[in-house]
């Protein structure tokens, strides 16, 4: 591998004082800049989402009533899988070129830096899913209201997926076993988000209103925002030792 200027050097110096917010801001800006350099990779992810979602009508037939029933579940599961696919990119590139070690050694608190990475990951991978999902929902006969609910649920849920996924990505850094192992580790943790997310639309359909599920999604997100960066930081330090 030729000696290149690492992504670490290219995108500017770290702030001199070590406040968590500055570290977070620096990290999120850096990772976003790096993410948008490989826009094609992100486009592929959205395409993956679209393709997986399209597979289901092909598999079960075009009966619109059936598709309506399956729709929320399919759209959520596909979002989970797309999220899963994109997780390695949070740490893998930095791990490979040594930047991650630099980050761990820096004066900025590592949880703040990692939170920035996770936030950038969500903006570049989760948010596009949120925006695309109502369009795909229309393919499954979701009403406009259900489409909004889907987008809202994903808006609250996908950050949690990024946060939990980052823990898995950090634990499996540099391992040969890779993607399949990551899926095995993370998908059980994703189950509550899937249940509340897809369940919100089911509840709305049943006339019960989706506020309970959405509140639960929000609660899970809050708890994860507090806990996941700590776990991810521990996992990163373990991988770097």
């Amino acid at each position: 591998m030729s000696v290149t200027v690492t992504s670490f050097d290219e995108v500017g110096d770290q702030p001199r004082d070590s406040s968590a917010w500055k570290g977070f801001a620096w990290s999120i800006a850096r990772d976003l800049r790096l993410a948008f350099r490989s826009r094609a990779e992100l486009g592929v992810l959205i395409l993956f989402y679209v393709i997986v979602v399209t597979l289901f009508p092909l598999a079960v037939g075009a009966d619109i009533a059936l598709l309506r029933a399956l729709g929320p579940g399919v759209l959520w599961v596909a979002a989970l899988l797309a999220s899963l696919l994109s997780l390695p990119r949070i740490f893998a590139a930095d791990f490979a070129d040594g930047s991650l070690e630099q980050l761990a050694l820096s004066t900025q608190p590592l949880p703040a830096l990692i939170s920035g990475k996770i936030a950038a990951h969500w903006i570049s991978t989760g948010l596009p899913l949120v925006l695309v999902s109502p369009l795909l929902g229309a393919q499954f006969g979701l009403t406009a209201g259900e489409g909004w609910l889907l987008a809202l649920g994903l808006l609250i849920g996908t950050p949690t997926l990024s946060l939990l996924g980052a823990i898995g990505a950090a634990l499996t850094l540099g391992l040969r076993a890779g993607g399949g192992l990551l899926a095995l580790l993370i998908l059980p943790l994703y189950v509550p988000i899937l249940i509340f997310g897809a369940g919100s639309i089911e509840a709305a359909r049943a006339g019960l209103g989706a506020s309970a599920q959405l509140s639960l999604l929000a609660a899970v997100l809050l708890a994860t925002v507090v806990g996941a960066p700590i776990a991810a930081t521990a996992a990163v330090r373990i991988a770097l030792d």
Binding site: L164, I167, L171, T172, L175, R176, A177, L181, L184, L185, L187, P188, L189, V191, P192, I195, F196, G199, E202, A203, A206, L216, V220, G227, A231, A234, A235, I238, A239, D241
Partner: protein, 247 residues
């Protein structure tokens, strides 16, 4: 016991002889309790009014389910200890617990299916408890797979410890969400959680079998941890003391 004695025990070298001494006692206790439990469960406890003799599966199913969850908690506890005190032995204990926990989880799932068919007409009813049990199996497999995928034993110790702790925090959330999902989708559901109203011999049989399972688990985990200690410490120079020349 003074605290000094406990710390001495924290080394694999001094724990090994203790484990070796304890295994036969716990194994014998488990065998005796299992015999009593099976006798009570299969012969003494009366036939149930609603479920006939099919309910007798609970004498395996319920202890297995209890152990599957209990072992995960114990495993997570030792993982926490291993991260806090950076000890090898605690991590080895967690490593030894996982396969047995997975075994009990698998057993709970199989016997749950066997019970479901005669009692409620279907092998797998997607009820909250069984679905959560299935996810617990995935958590065990994830722990073991992560350990397996990491070559360096200490990194494997720490990484799988973090995973187990993340898992144990998530288990209540997963269970709650699955319970929610289940009630939303099933309306008037027949639940595998509704055990037959317990006659005293039924409860007694279940408790005896639960203790039998617990003592068995202790015995087998202490045996496995001996194997793990030898595997991982084989280059230590005290290992010669543990391995008798004759045998």
């Amino acid at each position: 016991m003074s605290s000094i004695a406990w710390f001495k025990l924290a080394s694999p070298a001094s724990f090994f002889p203790l484990a070796r001494r304890l295994v036969p006692w716990f194994g014998a206790a488990a065998a005796v309790l299992a015999t009593i439990g099976l006798w009570v469960g299969l012969l003494v406890a009366p036939t149930d009014a609603q479920q006939g003799d099919a309910y007798r599966i609970i004498f395996i199913h319920v202890p297995a389910a209890w152990m599957s969850m209990f072992i995960y908690l114990v495993m997570a506890f030792w993982c926490a200890v291993s991260l806090t005190f950076n000890t090898r032995l605690a991590a080895m204990l967690a490593q030894a617990l996982a396969p047995t926990g997975a075994m009990f989880t698998f057993l709970a799932l199989v016997t749950g299916a066997m019970w479901g068919r005669p009692a409620w007409g279907t092998y797998w009813a997607w009820d909250a408890r069984m679905t959560s049990e299935l996810i617990l199996l995935f958590l065990y497999f994830g722990y073991m797979a992560l350990r397996n995928a990491i070559d360096d034993p200490r990194r494997a110790d720490r990484a799988s410890a973090v995973l187990a702790l993340v898992g144990v925090v998530n288990v209540p959330i997963i269970y709650f969400s699955v319970k929610w999902w289940n009630t939303l989708h099933q309306g008037a559901s027949v639940s595998l959680t509704s055990a037959p109203t317990m006659a005293a011999p039924m409860l007694a049989g279940m408790l005896v079998m639960a203790f039998a399972a617990w003592f068995y688990a202790i015995a087998i985990v202490l045996l496995r941890v001996q194997a793990i200690i030898v595997e991982r410490e084989k280059n230590a120079n005290w290992i010669g003391d543990l391995v008798p020349r004759t045998r």
